[in-house]
């Protein structure tokens, strides 16, 4: 579901109870039109037929709340199972590089939290955001758990990771995307002209970085444009993020690039 489409006001008749909360900028939450249409369709049909239908997660959350309040337990139980499977899919899709056991633990924790939000007697931004975009709500929780468990630096990287991002940005010159005025260790290691890497080469090279912090520093600096240091204290930099000296961080990036170069042999 396109996040941008969710913030547009739905023109579909409001058959479902309207949401009561608003986004951080004050504009009210609206369910996506497709969800509103599904809810209207569901309300016009026999709940015993719901189990065999393919609903959006947002629709299921609404129907679970509704049926639970009406005491229709069997419909609620069936929908919970389907919703759980959907949550597992979203977590899995955002847990690249994690092992199955860790991923299932994260799914478990997120499912518990979602159950609490579904049965919340008083709606909150969090509980209503689930009805606006379950996928994004689950993705956010997945990232939060990865951050909590310090798992973002997992080693496993396979083909296709960086290529999609770079192709999306329609560039193959990583250095030119985020020019840095100051001399970079990388410039000392390899001439800039040599860094015109194609996506596949970058991807396979990144997988060769052994230290997760080095890889993170590389990704943040070269892929997301984080400066190493800034005279402006309000700018988030690698220096403020890692709380290490700029020399230390530069060394990390240099080491990462060294490993990437070794992995690629004569290619860079």
């Amino acid at each position: 579901m396109d996040p941008q489409s969710q913030i547009k006001e739905s023109s579909f008749p409001q058959y479902a109870t309207p949401l009561t909360k608003s986004k951080v900028d004050g504009t009210p939450y609206f369910r996506p039109p497709k969800v509103e249409a599904q809810i209207a369709e569901a309300l016009a049909s026999d709940p015993s037929t719901w189990k065999s239908r393919k609903w959006e997660s947002e629709t299921m959350i609404y129907l679970i709340r509704l049926q639970w309040r009406m005491g229709n337990e069997s419909s609620v139980l069936a929908l919970f199972e389907k919703l759980g499977s959907n949550i597992a899919t979203v977590v899995r899709d955002n847990a690249q590089g994690l092992d199955s056991v860790t991923t299932e633990q994260i799914i478990d924790e997120i499912e518990k939290e979602v159950v609490g939000l579904i049965f919340a007697e008083v709606p909150s931004r969090k509980s209503e955001f689930l009805e606006v975009s379950t996928r994004l709500a689950i993705k956010r929780r997945t990232l939060t758990w990865i951050k909590k468990l310090n798992l973002s630096n997992v080693r496993t990287i396979t083909e296709s990771s960086l290529s999609s991002i770079i192709q999306e940005d329609q560039t193959t010159n990583v250095i030119q995307m985020y020019p840095d005025e100051r001399p970079e260790p990388v410039d000392l290691l390899i001439g800039k002209e040599d860094l015109r890497l194609n996506p596949e080469r970058i991807r396979s090279a990144l997988a060769a970085v052994t230290n997760p912090k080095h890889r993170e520093a590389f990704v943040l600096h070269y892929m997301e444009g984080w400066p190493i240091k800034s005279v402006d204290p309000t700018i988030v930099t690698l220096y403020t993020h890692f709380k290490r000296s700029d020399r230390q961080i530069s060394t990390w990036i240099k080491t990462a690039l060294s490993e990437m170069r070794s992995a690629l042999g004569d290619e860079i």
Binding site: Q6, I7, K23, V24, D25, W68, E73, S74, V76, L77, F80, L83, G84, S85, I87, A88, T89, V91, R92, A95, Q96, T102, T103, E104, I107, D108, E111, V115, F119, R125, K126, F129, S133, A137, K139, R140, L143, T144, I146, K147, T156, I157, T158, S160, S161, L162, S163, S164, I165, L206, R215, L220, M223, E224, G225, W226, T234, V236, T240, H241
Partner: protein
């Protein structure tokens, strides 16, 4: 723009809603809006960036059906732990031991389903929309007996079948559902402050009838019912 009621989770939800990718430009924009959460935002964007860099990689092997069942289990556990919620709720399935007791009492038991879950007697009565007085009148019981049945002070094996049948008729529920509600460990009434959990003294149905406020006529009626069931 900063709203004091906003939590960092609310802000991160908004970030996910509005940003397509974890760029530094986007991070700076959010830090300017919510400078008090700068560190958390930076950590979140960093995590997102590293995961984003791996998108399209092979994903872990997950049994989605199993995770669906776990979701159901979490929902049932939540409802069990928050049994005070007034809305009708699914309850945990009865144990095998309970099923055996029900079968021993002469009731057939279907595979686990919402209908044969263990429930408290008081919940069954209130869920049926009945007053306790109506139940007492129809079943020839008094409030002390109902309370003892609800808290399992009277062991299930000692409850006359006629009592179960009357409760089932009055409540409009299946007899086996009533039977399941009447079994399980005895429950303490209210809270206790001692370090060790006080023991609950159980009593037979006849003892409970004897100490009840039922009329002599109804007490005699129960004595005769128990006697005939034992001789059957």
């Amino acid at each position: 723009m900063s709203d004091s009621k906003l939590t960092i989770e609310d802000i991160l939800d908004a970030v996910m809603h509005e940003e397509k990718s974890p760029s530094h430009v986007a991070l700076q924009r959010w830090c300017e809006r919510f400078p008090e959460h700068r560190t958390e935002l930076a950590r979140f964007f960093a995590t997102w960036a590293v995961q984003h860099a791996q998108e399209g990689n092979s994903t872990p092997d997950i049994d989605e059906a199993k995770m669906g069942s776990r979701m159901l289990s979490h929902a049932l556990n939540f409802l069990h732990q928050h049994a005070s919620l007034k809305i009708p709720s699914p309850r945990p399935a009865a144990s095998d031991k309970q099923h055996k007791l029900v079968q021993a009492a002469g009731f057939s038991v279907e595979p686990a389903s919402p209908a044969n879950c263990s429930e408290r007697l008081y919940n069954l009565i209130s869920d049926a929309g009945l007053s306790e007085e109506a139940i007492l009148d129809q079943c020839h019981l008094d409030d002390s007996l109902i309370a003892k049945l609800d808290r399992h002070i009277i062991p299930f094996v000692d409850v006359p079948k006629e009592c179960i049948a009357r409760l089932a008729r009055a409540i409009g529920a299946d007899m086996k559902r009533i039977a399941l509600a009447l079994m399980g460990p005895a429950q303490l009434a209210g809270s206790h402050k001692s370090k060790t959990k006080p023991e609950v003294r159980q009593e037979s149905f006849l003892e409970a009838v004897a100490s009840s406020d039922l009329s002599e006529e109804r007490k005699t009626e129960w004595v005769q019912i128990i006697s005939s069931e034992r001789n059957a």
